[in-house]
Amino acid sequence: MAQDRDRLDRFLPLKPFVLDVLLELADGKRHGWSVIRDIQQREGGDRILPANFYRTLRALREDGLIAEAAGDASKDPNERRQYFSLTPLGAKVARAEVKRLESLVLDPRARRLLKVR
């Protein structure tokens, strides 16, 4: 357990963009294309570009945060896109980061900021 915690700490804090990717995958398996499209739409524009995105995807896979998932070959046999899903480790890391952010947001000082608005 202690070992596990160490491993989680090693990844925190996550880059916002990395968290974005992990959150997109939290709903279930997705292919890279739709993930980047959703992020681009939500972030308002094209701040995330292909090379950056796929490089990150590859690195996340190597670190064991995400893994390839089998695609729905039944739907479209020509589908060559790769599907990705969160690994248990990836889910833990994402959860830890969200908790970290939450604790920040729930900090009384942060609430005051929100109230002022």
Partner: protein
Amino acid sequence: MQASQSCYRVLLRMCPPDLRAEFGAEMEALFLGDLARARGVGKVRVWARAIADLLRHGLGARNDSWNRVRHTSAYVDYETGRFLMDTWRYDLRHALRMMFRQRGTTAIILLTLALAIGANTAVFSAVHTVLIRPLPYQQPESLVMLWEKREAEGVMKNSVSAADYLDWARLATSFTAMAAFNEITADLTGEGEPEKLPVGAVSPSFFEVFGIRPLHGRTFEAGEDVMGRHRVVVLGHAVWRQRFGGDAAAVGRTITLHGIPHQVVGVLPPDVAFPQGEPQLFLPLVLQAPNEPPSRVSHNFYVFARLKPGVSMSQARSEMDRIGKDLEQQYPQLSRGHGSHVTSLPEEITGPVERTLVVLMAAVGFILLIACINVTNLLLARAAGRRREMAVRSAIGASRGRLIRQVLVECGVIALAGGAAGLVLAVWCVRVLAAQLPAVARPDQTVVFSLPVMLFTLAACVLSGLLAGALPAWHMVREDPAEPLKEGGRGAVSLKRRLRFGLIVAEVALTSLLLVGAGLTLRSFQTVLSQDAGIETTDRLTFRLGLPGARYKGSEASFRFFSELESRLAAEPLIRAVGGTMLPPLTGLDGRRGVVIENREVGPDDGPTRAHPRVVTNNYLQAAGSRVREGRGFLPSDTATALPVAIVNETMAKRYWPGASAIGGRVRFTDQEAWREVVGIIGDVKHWGLDAPVNPELYVPTSQFPTFAQTFVLHANGNPLALVPIVQRHVRELDPNLPLFQVRTMEEVAARSVERRRWTMTLLAVFAVLALVLAAAGIYGVMAHLVALRTPEIGVRLTLGARPVAVMRQVLGEGAVQAAIGLAIGLGASLVVMQGLRSILFGVEPTDPLTLIVVGVSLMVVALVAVTVPALRAMRIDPVTALRAQ
């Protein structure tokens, strides 16, 4: 869209292969989607972002495997290898930052390097094209040319007679093949427009010598050079495409040359080039006719051969010498003093321009050195401003090696950036050079950028980076790192001053060398241009006509045609005079024949008596503006049936009638019976070009020596080019199937004869000016910097009562002394160095005092002007401000 897609695909190569294989298609689709949605300027933005993305993350991903991407926003763990890599990256980033921070200095450095590296790249590309790249033949090093030599006359490279060639080919064993070549022309008629084409008349073994295989059909077979079997032709690739549309079935068909059908036996591949001219088709060279023995006195042919494997040049030479001796014994009358001279074909081709290119390469090399000196100066000045930075860094633990590396990286970055800019400049320069490069013999000559040229540029960048950076780096090692940290410490200035004066001296010395070189070539060119050509070049038009033997049978017919044309043209009001000559002056077209001078004793040691025949029409001397020195010119009364007459040039008169007048003497060609009486002496004509020596010339009238080809010279009333349509009309009226060629004004002809000289001179002058500007900038930079360094000192002196003028005089004096020392060294060295220029100079000694004086004075003036500005600044230093700054 297609273009964008392929562009992006190329850019995608920045990503590591595995990433590209896995996600490349998706990345491409995403990019294309973005691009499709963007409008107008937005597209540019999409491109810019995509490139930035790929540069940063595509290239970055290549390091991911051993240098894990961190998903955390902060990380500090360095591993050892990582650290080494990172310091390089740090140095690089630091260098770029320094470049951006001091934009002014950087711009000057980049401009300096760009000019120098650009000039070097451009000249090197010419050098590479002409001198280094191998000739486009199989094993070009074993190709040789054979010439007839007459050592007694100092002639080593005479064209070869038919009989000699045949004997050589029969007797010599050193060669796998030997071939004679003659450049002729032929009228191609039949399908399409009639055309006059340059034709190579060649021995059947010609293609074997050069190792060229036909694209279709065959080349000539042995025996096709015998009268009766010679109506065959090998087509060049261009003619084949043009006339037969590239149809392989052309082989076996016939074409009409000179009105005679010839069978096409073969087609050459594209991109073959030959050392002489640009022949479009090839005919067999017929040297053996049944009733006519090959001539030993008419020298028309170039002879090429290929050495047998294992046979050296000197072996071939000694064999040919032996053969020459044998032939001399066999034909004592005709071959006396004749030998055979074997030269290497590659040397033959590149030899004429080699010296010029070497000189130019040296010139740009000097420019690169001057540029490096300037950059060194600027870097030293900058380093002075950064002494504290360096001292602090070394104080907190940076090793000297580390600091030196940083300086060298900075220089490297600057040099590479300068080189990149230089490359852009060079692309443009090469285009200009290629257009201006005079027709050197190199057959496949196109100056292009190639990998070796790129490598050369890279090497020039690295070299200049090291050269420029070495001194600042070394200087830093020498300095005690504590020194700059002391308050107001200036201990190192004196050393630096000596160093910098050394740089000025070197710069001035190098510049003076370049200026002297340019000055000497300029003076040579002037001398060449001021040579008396012996003819008038203004308002003269020349054009050439050749009569096809098939339609103009016999000398009578051609003489009648030329006379008719001449009298028609002479009647034109715009034409003042018309004349024709077989061999036009200033072109190098020439012939040479043995002559016999009546009553002239030929000693056993004298070489054969020879003259260069000039067959001209009666009015030629007048039309060309030749000057009759003694006697008379040709007259209408010198007809075919009248007493044979001749006119000689001054050189011939002096050589063959020494101490007596040539007028009234008699001369005949060795192979003719009739004596000709010399009726006039004309001034020497520079037949071989303005800078070439004059040989004995023997003028005879066409009426007594008919020819099939003539170059007409027209003296116009006004613009000579206005005569072209008139000439065309008359020629068409007389014979609609006769093409005019080589239509040029005489001025053009004269300009062509000095083309290479003009080219060399122009380039050297440009380089000299460039060097002068760089040197002036360098001197100014050093002096300005020294004045800035000494501002406090000058302030003190002014406060203590020194007169401003005295301060100015001191600065001026220092600069002047350095320049004078540099000048003295440079001019002294030029006395030695310029000996290497001797072969490209004309009428000027390498130690020409006028050039040296002009160069010395002008360089001194420029140096003084460059020093004056900082000197004035020193004079105007406000002591109060200067001291407050302390």
